[in-house]
């Protein structure tokens, strides 16, 4: 049923014409990054000689895609990556020691050790050692919590607040102005400034979803009736991918979003362009058909009479990285297929099939939508 589906991969977006940010995860220029001074970069510990297994682990961890916690591009993700590497090294040593003792104990030995010696092993290996190690590790992690996720509102220096609402199976994104009022709406694609903390207000419209950008930091659930918040500080410009991390129904697998992390100036320019009184897009037959076939009942497009709130906002759809919440690459072909029969691409989607429309109509609508910038 999904045999014909073609997924777009953000790793290959570097050739995309409409962005200057290279998403290829292995090619970031590290000098551009602005890692927070409070937290050591993970590569500071690479210098030490470590176990082969750890090197192998790190080799696997490098260049690991646009949705990887092992390729951090944010303050929280870097700190956790660092914590992870410490734990992997420690864990590998502890595992090797434990299994080493077990293997020795299982071998035929000339003489068994005394009960007293064996009891001492229980006390030192089973109690004393874990108590010390766990205490140190826990202290490290608890100290890290407020570092990566400040508790107090005052500690969040983010000015650009964004409200993200999880819906089955897409993301409603509302940019807010300084006073917290809605500035403009979009869907399934976030634009964030690099080197500055952005605070998100997270909501759910129907069921529980979870907001997660692995490259920037950990996740936070979106729960109906509860207002959760999260703040993230990207340290590297680029394009990342965020999935829904809480099972939310049939097409939970097909609910992702793109995150475009931009330099501050670019970000401000992008925001300004969006906040300005929207310019009516060029009138075409596609636009006329969009309204005639009732698309505007569910979708909104700034600068046009379309103000539907049921489905995702389609303003500047042509600029987006993907279609259908990270499911399809943004091509006219994909858009046509989606309009014709959304459920065949995304089972359980609320949008009805428009396969009964003449091919020409669908093509015109898709051409118009694809041209929206």
């Amino acid at each position: 049923m999904h045999g014909g589906m073609h997924f777009h991969t953000l790793c290959h977006l570097s050739s995309s014409a409409n962005t200057t940010y290279r998403a290829d995860c292995c090619t970031y220029d590290r000098s551009e990054t602005a890692i927070s001074g409070r937290i050591r970069a993970p590569n500071q510990i690479f210098g030490r000689p470590v176990l082969t297994i750890v090197i192998a682990t790190l080799a696997l961890a490098g260049c690991s895609g646009p949705q990887s916690a092992l390729d951090p591009a944010g303050v929280e993700a870097s700190a956790v990556h660092h914590l992870f590497i410490v734990m992997v090294i420690g864990g590998a040593i502890i595992w090797a020691m434990t299994i080493g003792v077990l293997a020795y104990a299982g071998r035929t030995r000339p003489k068994p050790i005394s009960v007293r010696g064996a009891s001492r092993l229980i006390v030192w290996g089973g109690v004393a050692f874990p108590v010390v190690v766990l205490f140190l590790l826990l202290s490290y992690a608890v100290w890290l919590m407020p570092q990566v996720r400040p508790w107090l509102p005052g500690a969040m220096d983010g000015t650009a607040e964004i409200e993200v609402t999880g819906e089955q199976f897409w993301w409603r994104i509302l940019y807010l102005d300084q006073t917290g009022k809605p500035a403009f709406e979009t869907a399934n694609e976030l634009h964030l400034p690099v080197g500055r903390r952005t605070t998100f207000r997270l909501k759910a419209a129907d069921v529980i979803h979870s907001f997660w950008i692995p490259a920037l930091g950990g996740k936070m659930d979106m729960i109906p009736g509860r207002d959760n918040s999260l703040s993230l500080e990207p340290t590297k410009a680029g394009i990342y991918r965020g999935p829904c991390a809480e099972f939310c129904g049939t097409s939970h697998a097909l609910m992702a979003f793109s995150v475009v992390v931009m330099e501050e100036v670019d970000y401000l320019a992008w925001r300004a362009a969006r906040t300005q009184a929207p310019v009516a897009p060029q009138k075409t037959s596609g636009q006329e058909l969009f309204f005639r076939h009732g698309c505007a009942a569910c979708h909104a497009i700034a600068g046009t009479p379309a103000i539907g709130r049921i489905g995702p906002d389609l303003t500047a759809l042509g600029e987006r990285q993907t279609l259908a919440a990270g499911t399809l690459s943004n091509t006219p072909d994909a858009m046509i297929r989606f309009i014709r029969d959304p459920a065949s691409i995304k089972p359980g989607v609320k949008m009805p099939a428009f396969g009964m429309l003449p091919d020409g109509d669908i093509e015109a609508i898709s051409a118009w939508l694809g041209g929206l910038k």
């Binding site: 916690a69 914590l83 077990l102 109690v127």
Partner: protein, 839 residues
Amino acid sequence: MSATDLPTFTDEERAGQEERLRKVWTTPSGWRYWTSVNNTEIGLWYGAAAFIFMLFAGLLGLMVRVQLAVPDNSFISADLFNQAFTLHGTIMMFLFAVPIFEAIAVYLLPSMLGTRELPFPRLSAFGFWSFAIGGVFVCGSIFFNAAPNTGWFMYPPLATDKEYSGIGADIWLLGLSFIEVASIAAAVELIVGIMKCRAPGMRINMMPLFAWYLLIVAGMILFAFPPLIAGDILFEMERMFDWPFFDAARGGDPLLWQHLFWIFGHPEVYIIFLPAIAIMAMVVPTFSQRPIVGYSWIVLAAVGTGFLSFGLWVHHMFATGLPQMSLAFFSAASEAVAIPTGVQIFVFIATMLAGRVIFSVPMLFGAGGLAIFVIGGLTGVMVALVPFDWQAHDTYFIVAHLHYVLIGGMLFPVVAGIYYYYPLFDGKKLSDRFGKVSFWLMFVGFNVAFFPMHFSGLRGMPRRIFTYPAGIGWDWFNLISTIGAFVFAFGVGVVVIDVVRPKKRQPRCEQNPWNAGTLEFISEPEENWGVRSVPIITSRYPAWDQPDLIDNIKAGRYYLPDSPMGERETLVTTVLDARPVQCLRVGGTSVVTMVAAAALGGVFIALTFHWWWITIACAIVTLGAILYWLWTGTAKIPETQDYDVGLGLKLPVYASGPASVGWWAMFITMVGDGTAYASLIFGYFFYWTIHEDFTGGHAGPGAFWPMVALVLFVLAWLLMLAARSLNKANRIRATQGVLVLSTVLTLAGCGAGLAGPYLYSMDPTLFVYPAIVWVVAIWTVVHGAVAVIMQLYCLARSLSGRMTARYDMDLVNVVLYWHFMVITAVTSFAVIGLFPLLR
């Protein structure tokens, strides 16, 4: 008692004894075989059923792996995938991991404790049939495309959305509630069995470690399952009648379900893991040929694990936005549980070091399992740290972690147990060669399947996705995982073949083939009586330390070597010192347990389909069957009170109060019941904490009627105390009169309890406050109705002369129920009547 004091029987006498014992303990033939209640049959059926469910869930797991082998796959649809992974987790947890230990425990404990039978064989049978019916119902749903599809954790509002989840969620809620009943029945059986039915002399600090672990686990079941049952009740009320417990728009909160689910769900992990360690605690000393090093250490560690496991549940909810202070607390508690776990592992290593290890297939599986489990433990330490969990939560890293824990910590030890204990089943060993082949297939396959998931998870692959795009960095990891899963499945297949292959030509092994130090290998596959005579135990490893013990047991030189009255008999001993205090007559073969389980199954299944009349009919049959079972099978007045159990000891056959096993069963059941009730009250106050005004402006039940109900229930309880005293004083007529009066007051109390919410027109569909008040009131009134049935039962027993001043077990147990009843009633009516006034 020295061997010279033991009686010696002639061959003829022994043959006669054995003849009579065999007749009493015989397993019926033909279709009646299935009405057997003996622990060896029930244990075997229970284990086989759990294993078959496991294989089925394994196939579902393979389906999931095939679908994920390559990106954009279309092997199965999204909806079938969602059903498959939901059932995979549900079956593995509820139909395999927990029941397999109930099975092993029921099978092994009697002989291990040196006793004939557990105290309530019919309850075991009832539990098994409930489990089998519920299990088939839940598993079968996928063939009708009606399986639950919301994940085994059933989070609302997705799972309360009827359009999405259809009947699947009801099948999960009701089918599993039914199975939870079976688990609690097993917990009662195991706790009373371990505490009260050990061989004389087996003081509590001499119990085999397996018994210690099972005692702890059964206790955990008693406190862990009831919160889930309470959650299930709220959930089903929302689905059936639209009471908004988890609907945020009407004051409910989806997080309450998460709390109740994980208060159950985390201890569940240890309920699964501890019995597996228990098997290793039997296997390791045997193959090290020495007693365990650090017996007290391992017992304390197991108890500590059990306690701590109840304080960890929030680590499943680190990403729900709870305050960081509480996250830090639960993170610390989660790390702390690693310490007792480490102690248990090091106790095994120390025992091996202090002994001479004989390497064998069970040890191979044990050691391999440990190597896997330690990785799972270490990743567990990682995910217990809040910042790391924010990344790893709900990704394939967790999938890897939990399979390392459960397969290393549970499945491998279980297979070790199968190889170790198989000779008990038909006196033959499984094949070493098959064992080694299956071990290496399973070990390598497992690691190939699950190790890469750590990486796919941290590379951002969420759990429960039916497909994924190519090129995101997960393709190879998933393909390798799928290949590994099939290798692993082949390994499991080899174990199955080894177990089921015909072994007719294989010679029998010795009765204690591994030279174990504990008693379980005295059980003979051909005999149903558990032990030929109930021995006197003076050591933790009696088969090593007590010379001639096994010969003397078999020669019938200890207690109960005969069954002159044709009754199934076993000894009851004191909890700490195991002094014999009673000769207990246990229930024998009966069809009533099957009927009761089938009818109760009918209640749950009919409820799923909203067939109300069938529900009511099945409920009446269930009640009738249980009453018949109790009336004919329990508290029988014996022909004599001084019964000769052998070795010059005379013991009573009838006991009442704390000396009797029935009293303990009631007490333990009511502790579980009280835990479910406490969860509901927790819900009431949970809503109070999350709302400014938790009534949401809706009328309460007032104070008057709840107070009337409270007073009536207290009076009814006082009358029950009076009835007990009057009966003891042999004033039978007065007892009967007081029982009638108490029944009337209870009925009035039930009416008054419902009058408050009813008269103030509290509509439970409008807002969560009226709904939770109604639930608390209904829970109390239903308990009142059960109390009325018990009161009438006592009255009938008294009128028919089956309950007298001397033989008053029924009344004493009902009064015990009433202690819990009055606590429930006072709490309920004070909370719903008075608490709103305090705001």
